[in-house]
């Protein structure tokens, strides 16, 4: 049965991808890429990657569609000239490379082979050590938060930097004054069904986001997914009730504070490890029992990740949304 599902989902993904490239209407392309993300998330789920599927569904199908749409509103809806003059050369290069990569796949280890090199190196060690040293059920969270804590810290700072970059690019001081005049028109308040359904959904999305944040050690979830979900619920609120009310609930100064405090919390946990006599990002020293210390450290850094991701995604959304009216 899995094979039928797998082939069906993969083929749908291919069709969607080709349709995305072929269409000249950018709005259609963005909507199709939302569908593409959902198909990709289903595929991740078939491949046992529950955490990744959750992230892709929240980020790819939700947030990225909204960001693309707000960028479309500020630029263009249609492509003018669909292809460059070197189209045929490009097509030849791409076809040749596809065939070369497909030829190379015949040398790859069989998918799912437990003896494949990728499963031999460090992965069994992670599975074993998670049981012994950290004692939380979700190995993905354990690897993300503790074993590869440096890596995650780096990723959080990439997100942080991207958020700051967008604010620098789009946050014109002059744009802020005229904000209050026209903002009343941009909302879906007058559409009954979206408003009612949205109002019912928002508290549940928010609750689910918090659940994913704090249950990340036991089930699929964690700071990255929770940040995206919380941001999605507040973006939905902004779309329904107008941006002013969303900004009144969470002002931009607070969002900037969130971006910085999440990253600082993460670093602070690392520095606390040094001060208590361990290494940077070594959580074992945070509590009397090393295993409890690891669990505490993971909860704290996941909270830091969630706070920063929420702050960055919401700031980016507000930066795009405020750009349209000046």
């Amino acid at each position: 049965m899995t094979i039928v599902f797998g082939v069906f989902l993969l083929t749908l993904m291919l069709v969607t991808a080709i349709a995305i490239v072929r269409t000249q209407n950018l709005f259609v392309a963005v909507m199709l890429s939302g569908i593409f993300s959902l198909l990709l998330a289903s595929n991740f789920f078939l491949l046992d990657a529950a955490d990744v599927a959750l992230t892709e569904a929240a980020v790819g199908a939700g947030i990225s569609t909204v960001l693309y749409l707000s960028a479309l509103a500020l630029s263009a809806q249609h492509e003018h000239a669909p292809y460059s003059s070197h189209r045929l050369i490009a097509l030849a290069v791409v076809s040749f490379t596809t065939l070369a990569v497909i030829y190379a796949t015949f040398d790859q280890p069989r998918v799912g082979d437990p003896a494949a090199p990728v499963h031999q190196h460090v992965a069994p060690w992670y599975l074993e050590m998670t049981r012994d040293a950290i004692d939380i059920p979700n190995v993905v969270t354990a690897v993300l938060g503790s074993f590869r804590g440096y890596d995650t810290l780096g990723e959080v700072f990439v997100v942080f930097t991207a958020g700051i970059g967008v604010l620098f690019l789009l946050d014109k001081p002059g744009a802020r004054h005229s904000q209050t005049q026209t903002v009343g028109q941009v909302r879906l308040r007058h559409y009954l069904i979206p408003r009612l359904v949205g109002r019912m959904l928002i508290p549940f999305i928010l609750l689910f986001g918090l659940y994913v944040q704090f249950h990340g050690e036991y089930g699929p979830g964690g700071g990255f997914q929770a940040g995206a979900l919380v941001a999605a619920s507040i973006i939905l609120y902004a779309l329904l009730e107008g941006e002013t009310r969303a900004l009144r609930a969470l002002p931009r100064r607070l969002l900037t504070l969130l971006i910085a405090s999440g990253a600082l919390l993460y670093c602070g946990v690392g520095v606390a490890g040094i001060l208590l006599g361990g290494n940077f990002l070594d959580y074992s020293v945070l509590a009397d029992d090393p295993v409890k210390g690891q669990q505490l450290g993971i909860i704290l850094i996941e909270a830091g990740v969630g706070i920063t991701v929420t702050g960055v995604l919401l700031s980016i959304f507000h930066a795009f949304a405020a750009r349209g009216r000046f």
Binding site: D48, E79, E155
Partner: protein
């Protein structure tokens, strides 16, 4: 599993190149960015495919079951963070595109180059 496995690799190859084609052959900047996301999605798919273990489950210890086979958690960790980093960098790209539109009045590559030549 055998045919499905090889099909996963092929879909990766085709998706990768469909995305790359959009980046090099399309002139619209937003279309190029969407192509880049497709390229990225293909890489995500490859990593997760490689991490699959036949007969395994998601790497979450269930209390009831004893020893079970788990899929590889490491590629999942790498891709999970990569997705969120991907959306942040995409947002940065969209920000640059919006600024280009404001400065040049167009987001078509050829028209931008013509304005630059003048």
């Amino acid at each position: 599993m055998n045919f499905l496995g090889i099909y996963y690799y092929w879909v990766f190859a085709i998706l990768l190149m469909v995305g790359f084609y959009a980046v090099i052959a399309k002139l619209n900047l937003i279309k190029k960015l969407i192509g880049l996301s497709l390229f990225q999605a293909a890489v995500f798919l490859l990593y997760i495919t490689v991490g699959k273990v036949e007969g395994g489950t998601a790497p979450i210890f269930a209390s009831a079951a004893g020893e079970r086979l788990f899929s590889n958690p490491l590629p999942q960790v790498l891709i999970l963070t990569a997705i969120v980093v991907g959306i942040s960098t995409t947002a940065l790209g969209l920000g640059i595109i919006v600024r280009i539109k404001e400065e040049y009045g167009t987001i078509e590559e050829q028209e931008i180059q013509e304005i630059d030549r003048q």
